[in-house]
Symmetry: C2
Subunit: 203 residues, 2 copies
């Protein structure tokens, strides 16, 4: 999986030798997956976009699923996100998590990465697994270390279900008026749901 963006070295624009071709392939894949969707994008098309032979992509990455994995940049570092969400304590974690999600998705580039993965996950088991891994092993564990609730895995699933559903409804299916509502309004509605899932009393 690609490293979170903050720890990536800056792109230089040069594309010399193998690592240049590798970067060009990843860039091309990221662009085409976002534009056309994972299923509709062939290795051949990625090769053409990157200006390399499709055989070189197979050489570097093996499969399209592996290339997807390499091309996803998570838009934040989980440990930093946990600190930001936890903030001053348990009382606002739902609202803070909703805010983090909305802030991320309102930036088009960061939205594209997760939407690409979400779209791919509906047809490609490897993408569904990446989504599970990120939610279950990276995003929530550092937060739950601070919150220490009962049944943390189920709570993480439930919060994930609302986050994924919000992404689908607002950005993919574009339900109106939700798609055009201000981030503040969305946070005000979704925050209490996440708060209950994260730290509320179990039913």
């Amino acid at each position: 999986m690609a490293e979170p963006r903050k720890t990536r070295t800056p792109r230089t624009g040069r594309r010399p030798g193998a690592s240049g071709s590798r970067d060009a392939i990843i860039d091309a894949a990221r662009r085409l997956f976002a534009e056309r969707g994972y299923s509709a994008t062939s290795m051949r098309a990625i090769g053409a976009e990157a200006g390399v032979d499709a055989a070189l992509i197979v050489h570097f990455f093996g499969t399209k699923a592996r290339l997807l994995r390499e091309s996803i940049q998570w838009p934040f570092v989980p440990e930093e996100a946990a600190q930001q969400v936890y903030g001053g304590g348990r009382r606002n974690v739902g609202e803070n998590l909703a805010r983090l999600v909305l802030d991320t998705w309102e930036r088009e580039g960061d939205r594209n990465a997760i939407m690409t993965l979400l779209r791919a996950a509906t047809v490609e088991p490897a993408a569904a697994e990446m989504m599970r891994d990120f939610m279950q092993r990276e995003l929530f564990p550092p937060l739950f270390q601070r919150l220490n609730p009962d049944r943390p895995e189920l709570r993480a699933n439930l919060a994930s279900s609302q986050i994924v559903g919000l992404g689908m409804a607002r950005y993919v299916l574009r339900f109106e008026p939700l798609a055009s509502a201000s981030p503040d309004e969305v946070v005000a509605w979704i925050g209490p749901t996440l708060q209950r899932y994260l730290v509320g009393k179990a039913p």
Copy 2:
């Protein structure tokens, strides 16, 4: 759009003439869309599965998106669903709606129809529009006629976001332990969220 199942005439097994071919095409499309996904299913493959020429599919349906529309069977009649969800009044509508959704999705055939559409909606605008139409114009209006809350469209969107997210998390992404939790447990967690979105105080 196909009629809800309860009002369909029973299949006879005979496939005489044009209406037999038409039914065979719809059956084949429904099966292949569910198995392979909408994007990965070609008109040619549907023709082969149905034992007809792809040109006949174009003759009957025009486009693959139109065929998708014809092949989706909504698993319940919205007016009946509204009556069931409203039941004795406002107090249990969230739990009742969660129960209706879970009961529907726990039946494999009914789950496949909606999951096919959800998968297709991530890549096919016509499918996203069908999803919007069903949620916005069919499922929620008869319920909101009874509940009469402020901002019914936004509330319908928010409830839809949790329902769609639950479908993705439990049946597509298969987050565990949510995917294996009992329907009763899922209803107990999700019900209060839907209750707040449907009739709770706006923030």
